[in-house]
Each structure stands twice: as structure tokens, then as C-alpha cells.
């Protein structure tokens, strides 16, 4: 993109009024263009000012404690990680669990395959079912067989790019005692999008980008569902998932959110 094209869209970018598909090329431009980055920063400051225009709401009294606890726990995990212990792999176990998850989530493909006739209710029902499948997967991770008292689970729901379809889920496991891993499932990838395989699935974080894997033509079933997974030394801070097609265009994306410590799932 040229500087002119980027600057025309920086106001939308600052307001969050761009879909992920359109934001990605602008972010790439800003990573190397100092002049545009300066203007983007000024507009970002302006948009952040707007946040203070809201009438204030008082949070519950206990929120301060929960915020402090979340940060303290993260600091403890980091400190333990700085004193490394032998770490074991869990890929084999997770592969089996992921197969279960893929089965649970495949209904999404059926819904998206009939996009022309689908109703919002059907999509909503399948979204809930899909999320439920991921929650069940998380429960598996809480079993004694897989138990990791120091681990943390992050989940993301992947949404399609503006002109695309399909959905997906992602899960990362970050632990000081077991090798970190990521698993990403895509569901209901439309036929027209499948023409641009292979997809590359990446995690983006503070320290850069890691590739979870590639989804080739033979990796998707007839409903457009497929899974990639990988093991990593440290996934701390990798908080966004981006799936790109062979042209480098974003197919779907999502943001990892803390949902529960492995040993103590939230209610």
C-alpha cells in the first residue's frame, strides 16, 4: 500500500472501524513507515481520548483484587519459567483430544456450507455449539491424566475476514513445566476460499510471529474443517491468531483470551 492509501484509512484504523482483513496491510505498512506511524499515533491518541467521554460506571469492589491476582499469577509463572525444569511433550495426548474436538465442531461446516439459506439463529446456535466444544476440550485438559497445575489455557474464537466465511477456534497451553503448544481448528471454510489453499496459521505476540502450521488441500474435510497444532518453547504473550491464504490475505483471525488456569477452571 502507498502512504496515500494508508493515510486515507488511518482514521478508521484508529477508531477500530476497519475489519481485520483491511487492518493487516496497514499494520504491515506502519511497521516500517515512520511518517505514517507518526500520524497513526496522533490519531490513536485522539481516539483514546474518546474513551474518557463515557459516563463512568463503578466496577464491583472485588475487581481490584481479581486484577491484582491475575497479574501476580502471571508474574509467578514467568519467574518459575526463568528457572527451567525438564519439560515433557504432550502432543500425542492432545492430538487425540483434538480429534474429539474436531468432531464436536464439524456442525459448523454444515451451517456455513449452506450460507445462502442460513439464518442468523442457525449461525448463533452453531457458534454456541462450537464454543461448547472448545470448553469441553478445556475440561479434558483439566483431567488428572493431563493435569498441569502450573499451566494456563488461552482460547480464541476465530472470525472470518469481511468477505469470507467459516469460523474456527484456537487454544494455546502455556506452562513452565510442560512444552507449550497451540492447536487451531478451522470450520466451514467456503469452497471459494478453499481455492486459495494452502493456509498458513500463525500466532503473533510480543516477540514476533510463530507458525503453527499449514493447512493443505488434503487437510480439510468436505465440510471445510481442519486442524493444525504445534509445540513451542514459550508461547507467553502470543495473543493473536491469523490464518492467511496462499495470497497472503487474511482468511480468519482472533485474539487469545485467558479463560482458566488448567488446575482451576473458572465456574
Amino acid at each position: 500500500m502507498s502512504c496515500g492509501n494508508v493515510r486515507e484509512r488511518l482514521a478508521e484504523h484508529a477508531l477500530g472501524a476497519l475489519p481485520a482483513r483491511d487492518s493487516a496491510p496497514i499494520d504491515r505498512h506502519l511497521s516500517w513507515c515512520a511518517a505514517c506511524r507518526k500520524e497513526a499515533g496522533e490519531l490513536q491518541r485522539a481516539s483514546a481520548t474518546l474513551a474518557f467521554a463515557l459516563a463512568p460506571h463503578d466496577p464491583a469492589d472485588g475487581l481490584e483484587e481479581r486484577v491484582a491476582d491475575v497479574v501476580h499469577q502471571a508474574v509467578e509463572r514467568r519467574d518459575r519459567r526463568s528457572h527451567p525444569v525438564p519439560r515433557r511433550s504432550r502432543l500425542a495426548f492432545v492430538a487425540a483430544a483434538a480429534a474429539m474436538l474436531a468432531v464436536l465442531g464439524t456442525g459448523w461446516g454444515a451451517v456455513m456450507a449452506g450460507r445462502a439459506a442460513r439464518s442468523d439463529d442457525a449461525v448463533l446456535r452453531q457458534t454456541i455449539r462450537n464454543q461448547s466444544a472448545v470448553e469441553r476440550f478445556r475440561d479434558v485438559l483439566n483431567t488428572a491424566e493431563f493435569g498441569d497445575p502450573e499451566g494456563e489455557v488461552f482460547l480464541a474464537t476465530l472470525g472470518p475476514a469481511a468477505s469470507g466465511g467459516g469460523g474456527g477456534s484456537a487454544l494455546t497451553l502455556v506452562s513452565p513445566s510442560i512444552i507449550d503448544m497451540a492447536i487451531v481448528l478451522v470450520n466451514g471454510v467456503p469452497a471459494e476460499t478453499r481455492e486459495h489453499l494452502p493456509f498458513t496459521v500463525r500466532l503473533r505476540g510480543d516477540d514476533g510471529v510463530v507458525t503453527v502450521g499449514r493447512i493443505e488441500k488434503g487437510d480439510l474435510d468436505e465440510s471445510g474443517a481442519g486442524t493444525v497444532m504445534g509445540e513451542f518453547d514459550d508461547l507467553t504473550g502470543y495473543d493473536s491468531v491469523v490464518v492467511r491464504d496462499a495470497n497472503g490475505d487474511v482468511v480468519m483471525s482472533g485474539t487469545m483470551r485467558t479463560r482458566a488456569d488448567v488446575a482451576s477452571p473458572s465456574p
Partner: protein
Amino acid sequence: MEGLLAGDDDAIRAMYARYGRPIYSLGYRLLGTRESAEELTQDVFLTAWRKATRFDPTRGRLSTWLMTIAHNLAVDRLRRETGVSRPTLVLVDEVPDAPGLDEEAVLIERDAAQRALSSLTEAERRLVARAYFRGMTAREIAETDGIPLGTVKTRLRSAMIKVRKANEGKDTE
């Protein structure tokens, strides 16, 4: 920020005392429930801790950085979740002040926000509010209003230039 990075309890609580309420308020207005707003607030502080080394005070204020994190996380969640019902949008100049509840820095930020909003026409305010506080894309606004996408983009850009100019030379920290 060094205190936050080290996990210093006083630093975390001081940051929460200053920014916890505006972050929670943004989450509540965007996501519509107290539970979601609380989850968002926790996520914002955790993200701030993770990215603390990337914060550069010479390039921007801490409030800008935190609110940008909060807004990005909230909009991302908003666009992925269906069926979210949000309360009616109420801006601060439409409700009585609640003196004594916020630190001075936040009140200064609020003044800056009021100054920014007052620089806009009513139509521009509605447009900016739908993009920023409702998480609507320019295309969604254009389709909802039945006006060309280019017109929405131009108006958003014009409005944001006004917002930026309204506080030029008025560094609040």
C-alpha cells in the same frame, strides 16, 4: 510501568486506582454486561503486564496505551460474539458529574474528551460514537444508513482530524 512488570502490588493497585474505572466503563458500554466488563478489565491489565516493555512514554501517554488495548480487546470480542446487547450509549456530558470518584488525571482526560466531542457536529458525534463505542466498521455504517462507503470514510476522517486538533498543545500528562 517497571513496578507493573515486576508484579509490584502497590504499582498494580495504583494503576488500577487510576485507570480501572475508565477501562471498566469502556468495557461495560461496549460489551453490555458487568461480567464481560470485568473480564475485559482483567485482560487489559494482563495484556499491559505482558507488553509493558513495549510501552514507550516518549511516544504516548499511558492512558492512551491502556485505552487502546482496552478498545482493541473489546471490539475484537464484540465482533466475534453475536447476540450482545449493549446499554444505551451515554456520554459524559449527558450525565451529571460524579466529583470525588476519579483521580485528577482522569478528570483531565475527561475534560479533553468533552473538548473533543464539542468540536464535532451532532452528526459527527453520532458517527464517531457508532464506530468507536459500537465497534461498527465503516462499511456497516454505510450499509445501515444507506450512504456510500466513501462518504462514511471521508466523514470519519474529517471528524477525527477535528478531535485531534481539539486537544493539540494540551498534553494531559
